[in-house]
């Protein structure tokens, strides 16, 4: 399952010494040394107790060592829109943000709806810095009608299917997708938005949209679809539903209902939704325009509770790069989406840990074991012996300022430029090799 570029890195060994390991899946939260050899975890031991020798050492004193972070939701824009981002630039940003694996959305040009495109995304010529797990389209050209060949896409390496951005509205098509997914043990990811009621809308519907004279997306446009999907997931045995970038308290209620009924329902929340509010859009700042839109204080409160109590399975960035000419336009005409790979951990530590007192172990789980479970990424999300040597090392106390101009992404559409954070990625290791190191 490794990408070719990391396969090239497979030989050699690296000892990570003196760090504090947080590995929620292995229930470890203690000082540990870790030996990576030939791309895999060779040994985990108490400080100074690793027996094997190493070619290289990494001094992790004072730092947290964690399984490599996994982002379930990124837009790398290839094929077709390399002016926004490429696999190479996007995965470089991922590495800088501590992500060792990213799952790419299929709404590219053309849509990733064939095995050939799935293979193309994973080809070494793309120059990926971290592992790339394609999510394929659920319907042909994401038109919401005829299902794609899930089995062939899965064989080619797709870890899930979705029509992200163009939600599956038709009940029968969604039912068929969940059925086929159930047969193959393949998750169906839904961007939950009833696009029949959100046409021409550019932000959340509420006092701020009314004041700005912008058409608003009602919270119910998300909750209604999640509600329907959870019902279907409950009816169809073994089906797997993953709710992308969940943003409203009512949608969370539906997910909770599904989980209580033991349906295989999972969900993710983005850093911007647990950080910002609809009113932060200010005077039409297009770096605060994304879909789903920023919501109300009570929605944010509900996501914070769900992040803490285990209802949310993963933090995912929905990294959505756009060129400046697509953002420096009238708000209603600006593209939806913001970049997010390089600020995710910093926001999680600054907002979730320091402000809302969510323990670091839970935060690490939301970046590792949680997402690995959602898409069954075997051998990842935990540093148990024999697993892939994907490691994220960070300093939870380091204060720093994010400079958008220095981003590794090709795009600059972030609302967090100039923000002061606590918590920074120090090194990112993929398959035993350091792909990012703070300078």
């Amino acid at each position: 399952m490794l990408n070719a570029k990391s396969q090239r890195r497979e030989s050699g060994s690296l000892l990570i010494k003196g760090g504090h390991l947080i590995d929620p899946a292995a229930k470890i939260n203690a000082p540990m040394d870790i030996l990576l050899r030939d791309g895999r975890v060779a040994e985990i031991a108490l400080p100074n107790k690793v027996r094997g020798g190493a070619d290289e050492k990494f001094d992790a004193r004072g730092l947290i060592v964690a399984p490599g972070f996994i982002d379930l939701h990124v837009h790398m824009r290839e094929p077709g829109q390399g002016y926004k981002e490429t696999i190479a630039s996007g995965t470089a940003a991922a590495a800088a943000g501590g992500f060792t694996s990213v799952c790419t959305m299929p709404n590219t040009m053309p849509v990733v709806d064939t095995e050939e495109w799935v293979a193309w995304l994973r080809h070494p010529e793309r120059g990926a810095e971290v592992n790339v797990f394609p999510i394929a389209a659920a319907t042909r050209s994401s038109r919401g009608a005829a299902l794609t060949d899930f089995a062939a896409l899965q064989r080619a390496g797709a870890v899930a299917v979705t029509d992200d951005g163009k939600p599956i509205l038709d009940d029968e098509v969604m039912r068929a997708a969940l059925r086929l997914g159930a047969e193959l043990n393949l998750p169906v990811v839904q961007h939950a938005e009833d696009t029949r009621v959100t046409e021409h809308c550019s932000m959340h519907e509420g006092p701020t949209s009314f004041r700005l004279g912008l058409r608003g997306m009602p919270a119910a446009a998300e909750a209604g679809i999640v509600d329907r999907d959870v019902n279907l997931a409950q009816q169809i045995r073994e089906s797997r539903l993953h709710v992308a970038h969940l943003s409203t308290s009512d949608a969370l209620k539906a997910v909770r209902r599904g989980k209580r009924a033991k349906a295989r329902v999972t969900c993710e929340v983005t850093p911007h939704h647990f950080t910002l509010l609809d009113e932060d859009v200010g005077e039409y700042n297009t770096n605060f325009k994304m879909n789903p839109p920023l919501r109300t204080a009570s929605d944010r409160e509900a996501t914070l509770v769900a992040l803490a109590d285990g209802t949310v399975d993963a933090i995912a960035t929905d990294h959505a790069p756009h060129a400046s000419h697509e953002k420096q336009v009238e708000f209603e005409r600006a593209a939806f989406g913001i970049t997010g790979l390089e600020t995710a951990l910093a926001l999680a530590i600054t907002k979730l840990h320091r402000e809302h007192k969510i323990p670091l172990t839970r935060i690490v789980e939301l970046f590792t074991a949680g997402p690995a479970r959602v898409f069954d990424l075997r051998g990842r999300g935990s540093l148990q012996r024999g697993n892939f040597g994907d490691v994220t090392i960070f300093d939870p106390k380091k204060r720093w300022t994010f400079e958008a101009a220095k981003s590794r992404s090709l795009s600059r559409n972030t609302p967090f430029g100039g923000w002061q954070f606590t918590g920074k990625v120090v090194a990112t290791i993929v398959g035993g090799k350091v792909v990012y190191r703070e300078n």
């Binding site: 700005l212 004279g213 005077e283 039409y284 420096q328 708000f331 209603e332």
Partner: protein, 304 residues
Amino acid sequence: MNKPARGSLLGIEHLEEKEILGLLKLARRMNPLKARPLLRNKRIVLLFYEASTRTRSSFEIAAKSLGAITTLVQSSGSSIEKGESLLDTGYTLRAVGADAIVLRHPCAGAPHLMAAHLDIPVINAGDGMHEHPSQALLDAFTILKHKKSFKGLQVAIIGDIYHSRVARSACHLLTKFGVKITLCGPAEFVPDVSTTLAPGLRVTRHIEDALRGTDVVMLLRLQKERLAGQKVQLQDYVTRYQMTAARLKLARRDAIVMHPGPIIRGLELTAEVADGPQSVIIDEIHNGVPTRMAILARALGKAK
């Protein structure tokens, strides 16, 4: 993103009371027939991405009365048709020597975008459903001509508030002076969230309730093109909300009837009301010129 250039007028919401009173005072001193050439040799571009009769002609006459040179650029017949972006059009107009831009645009916030990137004043002549500040100022000018003061005034705004930039600007302006406003119409046009726009707003679904004891009746055009797909039935609306002479009797005897135009007789109001003694609709249009003279003089720093 930079701060808008001094003299820009993007909306009423963030204006202070004293700035509004200053503009109204200046407008009272402006006489298009005996204007001083305060803006001689100033170049004002009227950049209109949407149809307009009143706003465009009165800005143009206001500018010319003050001695300025004006150029009209419209979306059809310009490079906008060829796909030029709003900002590039702005940079182009700046480069040909514009000293100020008056912008009408179908998207909310378009003037804010332009003002954030240009070093010349931008005047909002209506942006999408957001604001129409010069209309609110000329309406305030008109109200003060007939009512002497804002103190204790009751205003009813009837019609499609949701889609109306005129209503939003009027609400911001009048409530800054303590005016009590009742917004009236069906829920599709007057959603409950409307009251969050400013303090002192109230919503009613009954026109009789809105009119009782009111000093000013402000009507809005029923935008027929908006009705497609809406639950509002035209005949229903006329039955429940059309301003008729009989209904007008519920308002104070000296109440005035206003409308930003264009009016559609037989729809939101009867001809009898439009042409009746309480109607100040034509006066509003007339007051648009001195008000916009004041806005332009302030924009170009000649507000002495």
